[in-house]
Amino acid sequence: MTHGFASAGAHPVRGHQTQRRSWHRALRALLPLLLFLLAGVAMAQAIDPLPFKDHAQEVRFQNLTRELRCLVCQNENLADSNADLARDLRHEVFDLMQQGKSDEEIKQYLVDRYSDFVLYDPPVRRSTLLLWFGPLAILLAGATVVVVTVRRRGRVAPAAADDKPSDEGDDW
């Protein structure tokens, strides 16, 4: 891709036609690369095959691991992460599922070892109240300020309109 651009830049006199042709050439060169990358994605998924009992269990596994955080990469979930530990934990989750543990039990199992941090959805506790309801509190505070300001201005505006109509909107 960059090569295509570099040759077009090296011979500016040849103009537009050459540039488009080099674009085509770049695209043609890129296509195998794209296919290769796609194959890579497919392979990455096949690397970690787990013997699920049925499709329902696989869906449950996917949903559960998507809600759990990979501790090594931290902004990735267990389902997506390629980290070694994430693979180990996926296997752990899988094994616990085979033992007939519920989603809640599996989550608790990981929370006992890695703290609430493994959950993407933090539980409502006293220590997380601010996290859960802080935004709502800020929204309400903002709404209160707006309402109070609008009301006050509504009361002042008719009286002030005679004096300085030009000042409107400047003062809030």
Binding site: V72, L85, D88, L89, D112, R113, Y114, D171
Partner: protein, 180 residues
């Protein structure tokens, strides 16, 4: 007064921003505090590195405090930590158990032969299964376990001379006071 309101709002945001920066310099964001502190260490039975036929378990270590140090030959930060353990490992007052984590035993042996062995015993967890029970998510990590088998302190990342002086040694001294 009301004209100054946006300015105060701005100052408030600046203060919040400054606090965020300060907070992040004080805390490692990647550090996940262990829920296992002051809880019994998970039961484990792991083979020794130099003699896999022998095992070390939580129960066999019960009675005296010890330090578990999670390391691996592939772990770069362990290489940083290693000279510190070589220099101070013997002087902290408790046995240091090397916990070889997800490593090939031969690699671990070669690593210890090359750099020196600061450990009293080295145990092997090649699959990393027991490490999950300990809440290990990387190496190096260190756990101080007391004589009753309770985890009292955890260090995530390399033990530095500073961490040993300010955190580990006081924690060990506190244990010594409990068990005269």
């Amino acid at each position: 007064m009301s004209r100054l309101l946006p300015f105060f709002g701005f100052l408030l945001l600046v203060a919040l921003f400054g606090f965020g920066i300060w907070w992040n310099t004080q805390h490692d964001q990647r550090e996940v505090p262990s829920p296992l502190i002051n809880k019994p260490a998970p039961a484990f039975v792991l083979p020794k590195l130099d003699d896999p036929a022998q095992t070390v378990s939580r129960d066999s270590l019960m009675g005296k405090p010890y330090l578990i140090n999670v390391f691996a030959s592939w772990c770069v930060a362990c290489g940083e930590e290693h000279p510190v353990l070589m220099a101070q490992g013997k002087s902290i007052g408790v046995p240091v158990i090397g916990y070889n984590y997800k490593d090939a035993p031969d690699d671990a042996k070669a690593w210890l032969a090359q750099h020196g062995n600061p450990y009293d015993t080295v145990i092997v967890d090649q699959e990393g299964r027991t490490a999950i029970d300990f809440g290990v998510y990387g190496a190096p990590e260190s756990f101080l376990v007391d004589g009753k088998g309770v985890i009292r302190y955890k260090r995530i990342g390399p033990l530095t001379p500073e961490a040993i002086d300010k955190e580990l040694k006081p924690a060990i001294a506190a244990l010594a006071k409990e068990q005269p």
